[in-house]
């Protein structure tokens, strides 16, 4: 049993992060929201409707890389448009816009193999965004990036969120990242996962991720969340 009696409401346009020990069921919860697996008990509503089958209203950047390895960056980003049968001209133009947005200009014709971990994450982000879903699920999207690049990407993500007004559910292991980005942080306990705390992050918007950690409240919030998390240290590491 990966999850135990979880209650949570997420508003439209909200940015919510999930943190918690490894194996506590964060990815499982995202999978349920995406409709990839069904909860065995309790209810999960999306915009008031129970999720039955694949939920095509959400975009999902999974923890694992799911770019198609045999397609170039450009061709990968255009997949959602192909599925919608968008005309070629429009497609080309739109894909280019998103390639610019995630700073991949110059790498349009590279295959995933030829991209670094960070670039792949950015391509996957562009693919999720171009699909233009109401809600975006992101499972440790910046885990593989180095510290500096991570901040750059967080900055970009906040900009995009501001501009597009999407709902974002974001899973991370990095407490700082969760605080930088979120309206609320949901802390899960060790397995079987249950919610230990839901913390509203009352730092001002819009935030500068490069500076926000110097905000007077930042340390407090970090401490508070950390204390909750620490209770489960080590407990999560069960196969």
């Amino acid at each position: 049993m990966a999850l135990q009696k979880v209650n949570l409401k997420i508003d439209k346009g909200e940015f919510v992060s999930f943190v918690g020990p490894s194996g506590c069921g964060k990815s499982t919860l995202l999978n349920m929201i995406a409709g990839l697996i069904q909860p065995s008990e309790g209810s999960l509503l999306y915009e008031g409707e129970p999720v039955a089958g694949i939920n095509q209203k959400v975009g999902y950047m999974t923890q694992k890389d799911t770019l198609l390895p045999w397609r170039t960056t450009e061709a990968n980003i255009s997949v959602p448009l192909e599925i919608r049968k968008i005309s070629n001209a429009e497609k080309k133009e739109k894909v280019m816009r998103y390639i610019d947005m995630v700073n991949l200009r110059g790498f349009e014709n590279h295959y995933p193999m030829q991209l670094s971990g960070g670039m792949r994450k950015r391509a996957a982000l562009a693919r999720t965004l171009i699909y233009d879903p109401d809600t975006i699920l992101m499972d440790e999207p910046f885990g593989a990036l180095d510290a500096q690049l991570k901040l750059v990407m967080q900055d970009e993500l906040l900009r995009i969120w501001r501009e597009t007004q999407k709902t974002i559910i974001f899973v991370t292991h990095d407490l700082g990242e969760a605080i930088n980005l979120s309206d609320r942080v949901v802390v899960f306990g060790a397995k079987p996962g249950r919610i230990r705390m839901i913390k509203k992050i009352d730092l001002p918007r819009s935030r500068d991720v490069f500076k926000i950690r110097f905000h007077p409240h930042y340390g407090e919030i970090y401490e508070e969340l950390w204390d909750v998390l620490e209770q489960d240290v080590g407990k999560g590491e069960v196969v």
Partner: protein
Amino acid sequence: MESTEVAAYSKRVQITRMIVVVVLLIIWEVTARAGVMDVSWSSYPSQIFGQLSKWAMEGILWVHIGTTLNEMFWGFLLGSAMGIVAALINGRAQTLEKTLNPYILAIYSVPPVALAPLFILWFGLGVTGKIFLIASIVFFLVYLNTLAGVKEVDQDLIDSMRIMGADEKTIYTRVIIPNAGIWILTGLKQAVPKAITGAIAAEMMAAKSGMGYLIMESSSMLDIGGVLASLVVLLIVGLALTELVSRVERFLLRWKTA
């Protein structure tokens, strides 16, 4: 690492390979001539080469190679197309695949040669029968490999496509088929020598031309040199075709090595 180093290395490899082949041929030639080996049942390189050039000059060789290549081409095309399609269907329909699996395995263990009379009855003595026999051999290798490829597909890729709203057809064309590509090519590569064997077996069973016919003719005329010369031709054909498939593979899979 450096390209000059690579070039030097591959040159060294090629030279060594040449030396190995030449030395073996010389040993063969010398022992044959010295009477260590019974020439009438093993021939020797110069005789084989002489036979080859004679056939090439007379033009017989080209006719027979042409026949065999033609059969192989169509048999290969038919067998691999059927193998791929069947595997694509079966690979996604788990129950169907599991149900049929023992039957397919059972048929797989029957040597096509044993079914010669039925091939004759249904497809005649002409090219058709040979094409079908080759196809039936190619089919299994391609089918089994493609099936492995289809089953190997990363479910996460499929899920991510489905969340984006892809239907089953899109998933097939965009994910499953490209993913099975490497396996299909492995199957095709294994199938090349088998297709040659199939063509030869079919032509030895009943033929009026083709490399298998040439082998049978030479053999009943007690011309072992001729048999071995035909085999040399097939060896070259096999290498060339394998190289061709490898090239196609390298082109299609450039995303892997790039």
